[in-house]
């Protein structure tokens, strides 16, 4: 992406009339404040709508802590976070990896962590990137609006941490860990893709949690009631299918219907599910989100430079970091690690602006609606209403495909060789675009697995079905996941595969014969006694 890297700043006539802001590489709090004020002013001029910012300066060790907990300021305890921390520490201390310059949290106020080791130009860059780029994306993009509650997330994290700590005291660390392990294994299948979650505050959440415990148990008991059936109703029950439709949200299903889970275990499944749901939009907007933040730190910094507020050396350091972030090695490079979302996203937003401002004939043919339109409005529209998949489908232009030299590669394990598909020419643009869009679709990236049947009249076994596409098999780790599922369900679980031709074949089974840990259930029963 040399093209995007260092273009001569400000083609328009520069008004370098202002007194430049203090430069030099040492940052100070008052300096960050001054830069932030200027950046905020420019961001507002470009119409970026943001949550209030809370900028926190942290040390390298604290940054490693933040890494280990997905950037969350508060988190419940679990060994997997410790594993992540130890791994990060080892890599960092050997010098094999630098730490991120910032981490930003989708909350209101929007919390951004800045590393104390950054230089002043880096801090300014990071403020523009995180506090105005990511922040406005969190506030504007439809997925984040629908799926996350930035007002409540910190409260919810606090609630979940306290709740799980309480469970550890009452039921023992090992018990809690066992449930969390199982829930984590199913976390990616813990999202309702179509239903929008209700919004709640911490106080409501606590209140609800108590009611929910009792109510849920009641519901479960109803479902599993073993009243003797009247004669004659047998064929009726044989027809009864549960769930009536396939369920994709495994954790939700377990929380509501698993027969043997205790109330606190259901609540933990819910916590893991809620947090998975919080990260769900981020998984689908990598290119858009990073591209957006990169586009705006670049644009804001250029504007400040054009206004005469930044010195040459300051801008050069900013551009140096900027270019590093945007490196996209070719597929045959030893450094290649997939498409760089920063590079692709940045190139696409810049290209949309170009199409608006200086459309070519090709652009007019491909993008009649946006060629020559107001670039700020078009960019804002693009940011708000898409996810990676649809964003690429809608806005990836021939120009960007050419710049990146994109091409399709077909990997079919039945063919002896890999085959090159569409490339960056007139016949290929559309196919490249579609293929790349599909590559970012969550439905394509993750296997489609749903609950199709629970034998409520019989042995209570649960059946999952993997809807296979393109003959792509599951990673063998599915056997371990099934064990976790069996633990949460308490009875036999089966996995079957629906092939492309519609036939279904059994794949795997985890048998659970006896009721799991009867002494625990007894303990639970005793607790309910006065």
């Amino acid at each position: 992406m040399e093209r995007a890297a260092i273009t001569p700043p400000g083609t328009a006539a520069r008004r370098r009339t202002n007194e430049p802001l203090p430069s030099g590489s040492e940052w100070r709090f008052d300096l960050i404040e001054r830069y932030d004020r200027e950046i905020a002013r420019v961001a507002e001029r470009y119409g970026l709508d943001t949550y209030p910012n809370q900028i926190e300066i942290i040390s390298a060790e604290q940054m490693m802590d933040a890494y280990a907990s997905n950037g969350m300021p508060i988190g419940y305890h679990h060994w997997s976070f410790g594993k992540r921390f130890l791994a990060t520490e080892q890599i960092y201390k050997r010098g094999a990896m630098g730490l991120a310059y910032e981490i930003v949290i989708n909350s209101n106020p929007c919390i951004a962590y800045l590393l104390e080791e950054n230089t002043m130009p880096m801090q300014a860059l990071v403020v523009a990137h995180a506090c105005y780029g990511h922040n406005s994306f969190f506030k504007g993009n439809y997925l984040f609006r629908a799926w996350t509650q930035p007002d409540a997330i910190v409260d919810y994290l606090l609630f979940s941490k306290q709740y799980i700590a309480e469970c550890e005291q009452r039921h023992g660390e090992e018990e809690v860990e066992r449930v969390l392990d199982a829930c984590h294994a199913l976390a990616t299948l813990g999202v309702d893709r179509y239903k929008r979650p209700p919004k709640r505050t911490l106080a409501q959440e606590r209140l609800r949690q108590k009611e929910r415990e009792e109510h849920l148990q009641q519901l479960v008991n109803d479902l599993w009631r073993t009243l003797p059936r009247r004669a004659g109703s047998e064929d009726e029950s044989a027809e009864l299918r549960f769930p009536s439709e396939p369920q994709e949200n495994l954790l939700y299903f377990l929380e509501k219907h698993s027969p043997l889970l205790e109330p606190w275990q259901r609540e933990m499944a819910r916590i893991v599910r809620k947090l998975a749901q919080y990260f769900y939009p981020q998984r689908q907007t990598q290119v858009m989100n990073e591209g957006w933040a990169t586009f705006w730190h670049y644009t804001i910094m250029q504007t400040l430079y054009d206004e005469g507020l930044l010195g040459d050396a300051f801008l050069l350091e900013v551009l140096h970091s900027h270019t590093n972030v945007l490196t996209q090695p070719g597929f045959d490079s030893p450094y290649f690690g997939g498409m760089n979302p920063y590079a692709l996203g940045f190139a696409m937003y810049r290209d949309i602006r170009r199409i608006c401002e200086e459309p070519t004939d090709e652009d007019r043919r491909w993008f009649p609606d946006i060629a020559g339109s107001d670039w700020l409005k078009t960019l804002d529209f693009a940011m708000r209403n898409f996810k990676d998949e649809s964003f690429i489908q809608q806005f990836l232009s021939p120009q960007v495909i050419r710049d990146f030299h994109l091409f399709c590669l077909l990997d079919d394990d039945e063919a002896p060789n890999l085959r090159v598909g569409a490339i960056h020419n007139d016949e290929g643009y559309r196919e490249v675009r579609e293929t790349l869009a599909r590559q970012y679709a969550l439905t394509e990236r993750e296997p489609n697995i749903q609950i199709v049947n629970v034998d409520i009249g019989g042995d209570r076994s649960m059946t999952l079905r993997h809807y296979r596409s393109d003959r792509r098999p599951l990673h063998p780790a599915y056997k371990d996941v099934m064990k976790h599922l069996a633990y949460l369900w308490g009875f036999t679980v089966r996995l079957e595969t629906a092939n492309e031709d519609g036939t279904v074949e059994p794949t795997h089974e985890v048998k659970v014969d006896k009721r799991r840990r009867p002494e625990l259930t007894l303990a639970a029963a005793l607790r309910t006694l006065p």
Binding site: I57, S80, K83, L410, D411, R419, G428, P447, D470, L474
Partner: protein, 424 residues
Amino acid sequence: MSEIIDRRENPRHKSAVNAQRFLKRYRAQVREAVARAIGGRKIAEADRDASISIPARDLNEPVFHHGAGGKREIVLPGNKEYVTGDEIARPPGGGRGQGSGASDDGEGEDAFRFRLSREEFLDFFFEDMALPDLIKTQLTAIPHHQRIRAGYRTDGTPSNLAVVRTMRESLARRIAFQSPHLARVAELERELEALGGEHADRNDPRVAELLEEIEALRRRIAAVPFIDTFDLRFRNRIVQPLPIAQAVMFCLMDVSGSMDETRKDLAKRFFILLYLFLKRHYERIEIVFIRHHTTAKVVDEEEFFHSTETGGTVVSSALALADEEMRTRFPLDQWNIYVAQASDGDNWEGDSPRCLELLVQNLLPKVQYFTYVEITTGDPQNLWVHYEQAKATRPNLALGRIRDRTDIYPVLRELFAKKEKQAA
């Protein structure tokens, strides 16, 4: 408006609990890794932090995701020469990790590496030797320090105020600030004297002027404070490791054919434990390695543990050599001497009485402590039988027969108990 907060002073190590949980969960694997690390360490390096690796496959967090195989089409950047329809041979090893299959944690690497701190490392090391907690704490603790005087400084707590020093500074300052004025006053007074002294005419303008100036100068002289914060001097104290004494540790090991790797490993742990104990009590420790079969030799650590020889066993050769070394290199008035001997107990029959004689006559009177471990599963061997005769009358001799790691500590228990009592 943005709010900027300095969080750097907030507690670090938020992940400490999680890291502990991780270590607890994978205790068995970590312990194995620590045991491996001990094998590769020198005795004097036993208590350091360490980079540990455990198999990554054990700590996967499984999720449903796609495996290799099937059909998929991906988009790649950086096309140079390919046109539609080109065929490319598959890269060897099927290594296409990129594209849509976002790689998951821990995949593709076979070892998970991380650091154990010194305390964590020792904890794991002690764990399978069944050390009592008190001893563990004592061994893990950093050695004592003492605070010693080291000159003076300009700030400190009132209790450390060095009065004499402060007064000296004060005097110097007063002299420096007052003396120019004093000289001038003397000069003016002389002039006043010339004009009549006490009886001078107060209406004479010159006299009035003189009196006024003298008065002003006296005020300035009086204004120089007796003590200024500038004068304060405090005793400076710095922390220094407590120099107790120096000790030499003799490691004696039988390297005849019957000592196999497992036995040597046990012996090594025995030596390490004694070393850690000594390290806590002595500032400087020398280690002398003596190996023997029919003859004894002073060797370095590498050779001590790793080269093998065959042949018979004459233990007295090692004892004699140790005695010789003590006489020539480690005078008793400068060194505390400890001996740790490890053997499978199999000695040439005629030699054991000689060993007992050497031990009782020459060694035990010199050494602080002599420990002997017999690494064996069977009946006591002849060396044990002879050593045991000396046991009753000699309190600084400890004998032990060990089969596995948990047997090591009891041999040293008495030593630890005794030393702690002395220290208390």
